[in-house]
């Protein structure tokens, strides 16, 4: 019977199944970071347990790390968390790319970069954006700290079989429309809880044409649609990306692995519990105006009116969001002034993202009322960008060029947007207070963020000459 990739990978990982119970699922790769792991290691210690397969774990420090001066962590509790991860990894033998390690970076950026992330794997991390790794055709999902502890001690998880969903994006992406706009448009159209209980496979011409880095942007935000995980069937693009990466097999072994990976792609007649569809002509460069990722519109639109919504609870949600965001109903998105620009996060801080932003700002200056920072997703990305001179493009335009980490995506370090100020951000969450208490976040693509840094307000990146050349 024809199977989709989700069923194939799931079935290959069942350690034990019994009617009326969730499946006991084997986990191939466990990624860890400093914020959601301390209580899990502590649990092991208290119960006198060990890490079953340290060789299948990989840890890094990203959420708390300073992006300016690495040696100075002002917050003593953050420092404690970072030191705790070091101690835990030393004690339990877990491989760690700590702050000084050349491989350090945001956990979801370095997994793929190092080739740890591979098709067909089950991948977990105490972090909801673990869905990023699904871009390779892996089942990758975020877990809580108790589950982190469970995976550390058993290398398995009890999981009820999720429903499957196909989201098909038909057609070619229009000029100036990016992967970020695709996923924002999907969430705006179908809602932030459309994926609850499901693993989503993204399919269709527009998805097939994306590069691996773009696919990661789409899968990264599948959690913002409520999905347990999002993934894309592996193809030649996936195989080519992985070839030569550190943790990927070489020579004949690689050929064997590649053949296995390709065999995981959904069968032609595979079916899903739910099927959604969207055409690319519905998608233009996106800006969010509200306090969850579904509250966004194409750049040519305006903030909606309460009267556009039917239910009372939707009207209320709009009013609450606009009150927090300091916006009026009906305000054109292009009229919104911004004070901060953040190019970073596991959604959009890979090399291609930095290139896209650099292209827009080359030879221009950041608007005088805007503070703009670039935080590369990993030390590797930072080095690659410097090797091709992108750092000077940003610095000359007036951007700050930082060390890698999560930074202003959740503002757990010193990179905070002040209350009442607005930030055009390439990250993934615009929840209240996400970038600082009272901060107002607008989610956009790297090119849109760059363009608004220059203009001081949102603009349609398609109208800029730099983009056409």
């Amino acid at each position: 019977m024809a199977k989709n990739i989700i069923e194939k990978i799931w079935n290959q990982h069942i350690v034990y199944e019994e009617q009326g119970k969730p499946d006991l699922l084997y986990i191939d790769l466990h990624l860890l970071h400093e914020v959601t792991s301390p209580q899990a290691f502590e649990g092991l210690r208290l119960a006198n347990r060990t890490v079953r397969r340290p060789d299948l774990c990989f840890a890094t420090m990203d959420h708390n790390v300073p992006t300016r001066n690495r040696d100075e962590i002002k917050d003593p509790i953050a420092r404690k968390q970072i030191n705790t991860l070091q101690t835990n990894c030393d004690e339990f033998g877990v491989p760690l790319a700590n702050m000084d390690h050349p491989d350090q970076g945001i956990v979801h950026i370095i997994g793929p970069e190092l080739g740890l992330t591979q098709p067909g794997k089950t991948i977990v991390c105490g972090d909801s954006h673990t869905s990023t790794h699904g871009a390779f055709g892996a089942i990758a999902f975020g877990i809580g700290t108790s589950e982190v502890e469970h995976v550390l001690s058993t290398q398995t998880l009890w999981q009820s079989k999720p429903k499957t969903m196909e989201i098909r994006i038909n057609g070619k992406l229009g000029f100036g429309v990016t992967a970020k706009d695709v996923i924002l448009a999907i969430i705006a159209k179908f809602g932030i809880d459309m994926g609850t209980g499901h693993i989503v496979e993204f399919t269709g011409e527009a998805i097939r044409n994306l590069t691996m880095e773009e696919r990661m942007t789409v899968c990264n935000m599948s959690i913002e649609a409520g999905a347990k995980a999002g993934l894309i069937s592996p193809d030649a693009t996936t195989v080519a990306y992985l070839k030569g990466r550190r943790y990927v097999p070489e020579g004949q072994e690689f050929e064997k692995a590649a053949a296995h990976w390709l065999s995981l792609a959904s069968d032609k007649d595979a079916t899903y519990d739910t099927m959604l569809e969207m055409n690319t002509d519905e998608i233009e460069p996106f800006v969010t105006w509200g306090t969850n990722p579904s509250m966004g519109s194409g750049i040519s639109a305006s903030v909606p009116y309460a009267k556009d919504f039917e239910s009372e609870s939707d009207k209320d949600a709009l009013k609450q969001a606009l009150a927090y965001m300091g916006l009026e109903e009906g305000a054109p998105l292009k009229s919104i002034d911004i004070q901060h620009v953040f190019i970073g996060s596991c959604t959009n801080a890979r090399l291609s993202d930095l290139r896209a932003a650099a292209k827009v700002i080359a030879g221009k200056k950041v608007h005088p009322s805007v503070t703009a920072i670039v935080v590369p997703g990993s030390r590797t990305v930072k080095k690659q960008a410097e090797d091709e001179g992108l750092d000077s493009v940003f610095l000359e335009a007036g951007f700050e060029w930082r060390e890698s980490g999560c930074s202003m995506c959740l503002a757990m370090n010193d990179d905070v947007v002040p209350a009442g100020e607005r930030c055009a951000s390439t990250s993934n969450r615009n929840f209240e207070g996400r970038q600082g208490a009272g901060a107002r976040t607008h989610l956009v693509s790297p090119a849109m963020a760059a363009a608004s840094a220059i203009a001081g307000h949102f603009v349609d990146v398609r109208e800029l000459e730099a983009v056409h050349s």
Partner: protein, 196 residues
């Protein structure tokens, strides 16, 4: 974790949908390395003004609901981040039960691992509870064995829960100890998949 079965309490009506875990527990409080002590930070920015004073009309600051063990909210409760600090803070604050029409998946799982009972009722049932709870303090009795929620006026609702999780909550089981009983199966799986 603590076993849970019957809980009798006034409900706290939090009439919002898509309550995300960033609101439940804001990131500046995630830096502790313990599981305890998060209760005072629950909904911190909804409970407090910028100057630290209490927001008068926020439901958790309403005297009538002090000591409540049951939080009732609208759909898609607990969306966003995977932080288990969210159920930790809800429990530590004093709630043992959440009632909503739907939950985000990770949050729902996290509740189960900590002995916080997430009950799903239908949208209209939740609206009825919220309306009752907003009018006057409204007491309900939750019974996990029976899978029922019964209001002070005798109005009763039943809910579904996965039998596996039900057992775990009722007994306060530690899931890791349970899984150790499958050591042989795990070892076999590893033998058959040595390439990974």
């Amino acid at each position: 974790m603590e076993p849970i079965n019957e809980v009798v309490s006034v409900i706290t009506p939090l009439d919002r949908k898509n309550v995300d875990t960033d609101q439940i527990i804001s990131k500046e409080f995630l830096k502790r390395i313990e599981r305890t002590g998060f209760g005072k930070y629950l909904f911190y920015h909804w409970r407090h003004n910028a100057d630290g004073s209490e927001v008068q009309d926020f439901v958790l600051n309403d005297e009538r609901f002090k000591g409540s063990k049951i939080l009732v909210a609208q759909e898609n409760f607990g969306c966003g981040s995977s932080r288990e600090h969210a159920p930790w803070s809800i429990l530590d604050y004093g709630f043992n039960v959440v009632i909503a029409p739907s939950y985000a998946d990770i949050f729902y799982n996290n509740c189960m691992k900590n002995g916080l009972l997430p009950i799903k009722l239908t949208m209209s049932e939740v609206e009825e509870l919220l309306a009752n709870g907003q009018k006057d303090p409204y007491t309900v009795e939750v019974n996990l064995v029976e899978q029922t929620v019964t209001g002070q006026d005798g109005k009763s609702y039943s809910f579904e829960i996965d039998p596996y999780y039900k057992e775990m909550l009722l007994n306060g089981w530690d899931e890791i100890s349970l899984t150790f009983q499958y050591e042989e199966q795990i070892a076999n799986y590893e033998k058959q998949h040595q390439h990974t």
